[in-house]
């Protein structure tokens, strides 16, 4: 018997006492909505979620900025220059307007031209969009689709500037898991990021920055104003401890 058949036979025999059928059996995926509650809360609850997200990201010693869509290019230029970055790698499909205000002193490298790890190791920063963000844990999730780059782009450079649309901020982990559930045949790699890389391996003392980017900047962009409605977040407000 093959190892496969033997192991399967063993584990079948081992639970011979169990008579209930499998919950999910060989069904492709459970129905949508099994998880997730506060996903698209509106009004004050929505604002609370956004504030909580900003607080929790900052709590993990990432820098948090809140701004509006038209101000993103200026904010990104200020951030990169302020951090002393002189080169930035640009994921395929990133909104070209976002980096339109970079000064000449900052060079850009297109994702398609970054063909080796060493090349990325020489780049100072990466700017990406994001897929989902989680308020309760201060987490951003990349699915490495358009504007987010393949995985190594947000890993090797020492600074990661991540743009989060307010509309992508969900309340809790269960909301994010529900949103990210892969459809049949369309699974994407996911990277969940909660603050800069860190270790507590030496006497349990937290040290920020080991192998991943040591500097994480999260730029939260307000939803476009509803025609006729009031805008809630105008200017860039609040910066997390750093």
């Amino acid at each position: 018997m093959s190892a496969r058949d033997e192991i399967l036979s063993r584990v079948r025999d081992a639970v011979a006492d169990v008579t209930t059928p499998p919950r999910a059996g060989t069904v492709v995926s459970s129905s949508a909505g099994a998880a997730g509650s506060g996903d698209r809360a509106e009004g004050p609850a929505r604002d609370e979620t956004l504030v909580l997200f900003a607080e929790n990201v900052a709590d993990y010693r990432a820098t948090v900025l809140r701004t509006t869509g038209e101000k993103v290019p200026g904010v990104l230029a200020d951030v990169l220059v302020g951090l002393g970055c002189r080169s930035v790698v640009v994921p395929t499909g990133l909104d070209p307007a976002w980096l339109s205000r970079l000064p000449d002193t900052v060079t850009t490298l297109a994702e398609s031209e970054a063909t080796s790890h060493r090349q990325l190791d020489a780049v100072d920063a990466v700017v990406t969009a994001s897929s989902v963000a989680i308020a309760v844990t201060g987490t951003i999730v990349l699915d490495h689709d358009t504007g987010q780059g393949r995985r190594e782009l947000t890993l090797v450079p020492d600074t990661h500037v991540c743009v989060v649309a307010e509309g992508d901020v969900v309340h809790d982990v269960s909301d994010a898991v529900a949103r990210l559930r892969p459809g049949p045949g369309s699974a994407r790699p996911l990277t969940w990021i909660s603050g800069p890389s860190a270790t507590s391996d030496i006497e349990l003392q937290r040290v920020e920055g080991v192998h991943g980017p040591r500097t994480l900047v999260v730029v939260i962009v307000a939803d476009p104003p509803v025609p006729g409605g009031a805008t809630s977040h105008a200017a860039a407000v609040g910066e997390g401890g750093h």
């Binding site: 006492d17 169990v18 459970s30 790699p189």
Partner: protein, 504 residues
């Protein structure tokens, strides 16, 4: 086929047709001949530096855990959800393993099956050899420690570089991990600095000469030392925290980014996954990703989690192998009560709250799985043929803190008592069991008790207040239990004497 584990019992569920591989895990060479726990513990207890390091570390982390667990509205409901998901997977494991294999294969991964450590190591070594590399980078993984994969690779002439900071400290220090989450917990910063200065240059980029014992400087030295290895490595080896059956997704939860480096940069990725790591559905990740970080590092969320589903075209390793490993797990699964230990998600919360672990550290447990979970898991995985495994169920005060801390509600104290019962049954009549029977006989009758108490006062007069450390014939039991000298008077005698004249 691996060597037959002679003398080991057959799993209750295993029929005659399954004698092909031993149901029990063969104790890995590192731990063969380990003395029983009390003896190993005595040596560890004498290390005052280690005890200080452990006390500081376990208390720090248990306080952090308590804080973030208190933030969650209904932690208990989450625990139940987590335990249910694992139970569902375990009680229908064959179905979910088949489903996992099907999804992995459909997404371009190659699935291998390994009955035991030797088979898993052979599979991994063969893949590594076919790539003609002299080194691999590794993500911290309990299961590859369990099977001693690094040693197997070394024997094949391949260097396996551990990339987690604590694992690096352990590897460079020619040491053994002593904790599931923070394997170098027994080392302090000065010891780590000395190890880095002495050893890094032997295997790669040396530590800077002016290295201090500041943790930030030490982490920086590790970053520089390992970066060159990440940049050039062509093969990586990992475990997985979860394997989602209905999507074929593997999940690695980490902090430093070394995991992301290994899972992303090399061309070939080999993941060794215990068969108990399966989750039935994608949605089960919801509870797990809330339970694990809060229980483990005491954070709302760990810095990095990577999820991959087979091969992702143009992103990350283009050759992905998954080795599904039994190595005694099916034996544990066959025990109706004991199978709950397979729910374990290796968070280490039980270690941090355990009064025994806090004092002895992880090395005394004779396994890569120390602490309360190790005390129940090892004797189940490996059987109780060895001194160490027979003694592990007693490495506990049964205080119950481990059960309260466990995010998947493994009733460790209940399992310990059960395993103690089995150990006693297997070892036959002993002076201890005779003493217990005698005690039961005495305590069941007030007159017998009074007589025994009077007899004890005579013994008390003989020992005169000296602490009794050992009783002839009951050596094993009394060695670990100091007994105050019996009083020279029983309570009843004292009462009668004191109240003699009060009745009138």
């Amino acid at each position: 086929m691996s060597p037959d584990a002679a003398g080991h019992g057959q799993a209750p569920g295993a029929g005659a047709g399954h004698a092909a591989y031993p149901p029990l895990q063969v104790t890995s060479p590192t731990f063969v001949g380990m003395p029983k726990f009390p003896k190993a513990a005595r040596a560890e207890l004498a290390n005052a530096q280690q005890r200080r390091n452990l006390r500081h570390a376990t208390h720090t982390i248990r306080d952090k855990r308590a804080q973030v667990v208190a933030e969650v509205d209904d932690w208990e409901a989450l625990r139940v959800k987590g335990a249910d998901a694992k139970d569902e997977a375990l009680t229908h494991l064959a179905d979910y393993l088949e489903r996992l294999e099907e999804r992995l294969t459909a997404n371009g991964a190659v699935v291998h099956w390994a009955r035991d450590a030797a088979e898993a190591n052979r599979i991994v070594v063969d893949i590594v050899r076919s790539k003609e590399v002299q080194e691999v980078v590794k993500v911290k993984s309990m299961v590859t420690q369990e099977i001693e994969l690094n040693e197997a690779l070394e024997a094949a002439g391949v260097s396996a570089w551990e990339t987690d900071l604590a694992e690096l400290i352990v590897q460079l220090g020619h040491d053994r991990p002593s904790h599931i989450l923070v394997p170098a917990i027994h080392r302090n910063r000065k010891e780590i600095r000395d190890i880095f200065l002495r050893e890094m240059g032997q295997v790669g980029r040396p530590a800077p000469d002016d290295l201090t014992d500041d943790p930030a400087r030490l982490a920086e030295a590790a970053r520089l030392h390992l970066r060159e290895k990440f940049m050039r490595a062509r093969v990586a080896i990992s475990g997985a925290n979860f394997a989602v059956a209905d999507s074929g997704t593997l999940v690695v939860v980490e902090s430093e980014g070394n995991g992301r480096m290994c899972l992303t940069l090399p061309e070939t990725l080999i993941s060794v996954v215990g068969i108990e790591k399966v989750l039935p559905t994608w949605d089960d990740l919801s509870a797990m990703l809330q339970l694990l970080p809060r229980s483990s590092t005491g954070e709302r969320m760990n810095p990095y989690t990577t999820m991959w589903t087979g091969v992702h075209e143009g992103d990350g390793p283009q050759e992905v192998h998954v080795v599904l490993l039994d190595n005694g797990r099916s034996h544990v699964l066959a025990d109706r009560l004991g199978r709950q230990a397979l729910r374990c998600i290796r968070c280490s919360a039980c270690l941090n709250v355990c009064p025994v672990y806090e004092r002895t550290g992880g090395h005394a447990y004779g396994s890569v799985y120390p602490g309360p979970i190790g005390a129940v898991l090892n004797p189940q995985l490996r059987g109780t043929a060895s001194d160490i495994d027979r003694s592990l169920p007693y490495a506990s005060s049964l205080c119950g803190a481990c059960f309260d801390a466990c995010p998947v509600r493994i009733n460790i104290p209940e399992l310990l008592v059960e395993l103690r019962g089995k150990a006693v049954e297997e070892s036959g009549p002993t002076p201890e069991s005779a003493a217990m029977k005698a005690a039961a006989w005495v305590l069941s009758d007030p007159r017998r008790l009074a007589t025994a108490q009077k007899a004890a006062t005579i013994a008390g007069r003989l020992t005169r207040g000296r602490t009794i450390r050992s009783v002839p014939g009951l050596g094993a039991w009394t060695n670990a239990r100091d007994l105050p000298s019996p009083p020279t008077e029983t309570f009843r005698q004292w009462w009668v004497r004191e109240h003699r004249n009060e009745d009138s």
